[in-house]
């Protein structure tokens, strides 16, 4: 009987083969775009950028891209201050990653913690958290950003704080629902019978089971945060000048859009490509990591 069981268990594909199958199905185009537009420039900005992103020569202002007859040294042309747009986009990827990374990390941690507490302990904690989530989601985030920027000024930290303020509620709502489901599962009951503490049950039993959700949610939020940061910068309440934030570049190019469209166009293209790819990757991850689908 033991042999029969051993062969039944051993019959499935090996872990290495499963990993290979998983790798083969990776969505290569979105990953390639994310790497080329976002990740590689952010890491190697100093080596990749041909010009200083912060200062330009006024003599070289409003030059069209090289492939449209402009000087060959400015691949994507220059802006109204003569700064190289290509270099600025490369350095701008750092800002996007930093804002999105810090915002998701802070907002996600707060939201996940509160969501776990609300979903596991229920009671008063749940009421308070869900009310706060409703409250947060009902406040227009851009308006808050405008008020904050007017009151204490636009800085990197205020942008991150605003992003985290919007995101925590999304995480808390999702995590609460999942924690609620797992808290009623038989394996949590078994763990309680075995004598596990609440902390152990949350950390060892519930959190690992919502890890997939967190990964998918974070990927999908990444696109949102990049657009959100762009919107804030566009409105002038995000990353302050002269930092090369993509949204800020679009805003600065707006007044020249008829005469020098490339100033606004290429940063906008970078935003669009990044967000589109990140969302495609997020959708793919959601399909692959959703436990209900992987069970089949």
């Amino acid at each position: 009987m033991r042999e029969a069981q051993a062969s039944a268990v051993g019959a499935g594909p090996t872990r290495a083969r499963l990993a290979w199958r998983w790798l083969r199905e990776l969505p290569l185009l979105p990953i390639a775009i994310i790497l080329v537009v976002l990740v590689i420039p952010a890491i190697f900005a100093e080596y990749l950028a041909p010009h200083n992103p912060y200062s330009g020569s006024l003599r070289a202002r409003l030059q069209p891209p090289a492939f449209l007859g402009g000087p060959s040294e400015f691949l994507l042309g220059t802006d109204h201050q003569g700064r190289d747009i290509f270099s600025r986009i490369i350095f701008g990827s750092r800002i996007s990653i930093a804002v999105a990374g810090a915002g998701i990390l802070i907002g996600g941690s707060i939201g996940t913690t509160l969501g776990l507490i609300a979903g596991y302990f229920r009671g008063v904690a749940e009421t308070i958290v869900t009310r706060l989530v409703d409250l947060t989601l009902s406040i227009p985030a851009i308006l808050v950003a405008l008020v904050v920027a007017a009151a204490i000024g636009a800085r990197f930290t205020t942008v991150v704080a605003i992003v985290a303020l919007v995101l925590w509620a999304v995480y808390a709502r999702q995590v609460r629902a999942e924690a609620l489901k797992w808290a009623q599962s038989d394996f949590v009951a078994r763990a309680r019978v075995a004598g596990a503490s609440h902390f152990r049950i949350i950390v060892r039993h519930i959190l690992p089971n919502i890890a997939n959700t967190l990964i998918v949610l974070s990927t999908l939020q990444l696109g949102f945060v990049i657009v959100f940061e762009g919107s804030l910068s566009f409105l002038g309440v995000g990353i302050p000048r002269p930092n090369p934030a993509w949204g800020l570049m679009v805003a600065d190019g707006r007044i020249h859009v008829v005469s020098a469209w490339w100033i606004a166009f290429f940063p906008g293209l970078a935003i669009m490509l990044t967000v589109l790819s990140v969302n495609m990757l997020g959708d793919w991850l959601r399909d692959r990591l959703d436990p209900k689908l992987t069970q089949v």
Partner: protein, 337 residues
């Protein structure tokens, strides 16, 4: 039965307060899920709690597992009262009482390895060396007929029957006195039920553990248990040694349950008792005997007005039915004659 029972439950009650709307008025009511249940589970013995869904058997199990607090009544494991356990006593209780749940697909954490699942009752209660834990995991896995080399695998790599063995191995790992088996085989394939039940029985002797078996399948109760208690609407209506109960069921409800179960052989002639109506709501249970509105053997007014006591009849066979109030006396008289 040995001198002191492993588990003694006395007058256990669990009432859930509910609010309902009746003619636009809010009324408070209580659901008497468990309403005055008493029983003992002897050392190394198995007591089966049988009854249809909603009769309170699972609530009883939850109370004993300290997942819920009783409204009143006592649960004693050996010398310890389960209520208000703290610190060392609480840890001890958690080691001594374990459970195997119905669905092996949801009772094992899919993100944990088998060794982590099996060793959980050990790890959370006492500091033990890693080597001790690994040895104990191998020992219990071997005992339930699984290869100890599979301890590093995840639950999804096992079949339903194997998963139930993993759950049992986990329950046995802390060397408990009592394991609550909540419908342990009803979600398994019929083909592996018998071998799983045999395994449960064999390991009971090997580990000297008592079982409280929560089950709706009478055949399982008969095969696994030493004693059977039949529950109806939160009360025990009949309680006897398994062989006595199956050879001569006394309570009309038990008789009806037996009549509803499939016989072992299709040619077996059996009495047909078809109960009328539904199980009454536990929010508004019938007066008198809770079974009287559906009882085919109702004697009369006494059934509607007086709650029958659980009386011992012919030695060790306890039944709560007015039919036997007089008959019990008559039977003793005729036996003497």
């Amino acid at each position: 039965m040995a001198s002191q029972p492993t588990l003694r439950v006395e007058g256990l009650k669990r009432h859930f307060p509910v609010t309902m709307w009746r003619r636009l008025k809010r009324v408070a009511a209580v659901v008497k899920a468990v309403d005055g249940v008493s029983f003992d589970v002897g050392e190394g013995e198995t007591l089966a709690l049988v009854g249809e869904s909603g009769c309170g058997k699972t609530t009883t199990a939850k109370l004993i597992l300290a997942l819920d607090t009783p409204t009143s009544g006592t649960i004693r494991l050996g010398d310890t009262d389960v209520q208000n356990l703290h610190g060392e006593a609480y840890r001890h209780y958690r080691e001594q009482v374990q459970a195997v749940f119905q669905d092996p697909w949801s009772s094992l954490n899919p993100r944990m390895r088998v060794k982590e699942i099996v060793s959980e009752p050990l790890v959370v209660n006492r500091r033990r060396s890693r080597r001790d834990i690994r040895a104990r995991v191998a020992e219990v896995l071997e005992a339930v007929g699984l290869n100890p080399a599979h301890a590093d695998r995840f639950p999804h790599e096992f079949s339903g029957g194997q998963r139930q063995r993993i759950a049992l191995a986990s329950a046995l790992s802390s060397d408990p006195k009592l394991i609550i088996l909540d419908e342990p085989v009803s979600s398994l394939d019929v083909s592996i039920r018998a071998q799983t039940m045999n395994l449960f029985r064999d390991l009971q002797g090997q580990f000297n553990v008592s079982y409280l078996l929560i089950v709706h399948d009478l055949a399982v109760a008969r095969y696994m248990s030493d004693e059977v208690a039949v529950m109806y609407l939160g009360k025990i209506v009949e309680h006897a040694r398994t062989e006595d109960l199956f050879s001569e069921p006394l309570h009309p409800y038990t008789k009806a349950l037996f009549a509803a179960a499939l016989p072992g052989h299709p040619d077996v002639e059996r009495e047909e008792i078809v109960l009328e109506g539904e199980v009454p709501s536990p929010i508004d249970p019938p007066s008198g005997c809770p079974f009287h509105p559906r009882c085919p053997m109702k004697i009369g007014e006494i059934c509607e007005t007086t709650v029958p006591a659980l009386r011992t009849h012919q030695g060790r066979h306890a039944v709560s039915c007015h039919l036997y109030d007089d008959e019990a006396a008559a039977a003793t008289a005729s036996a003497e004659a």
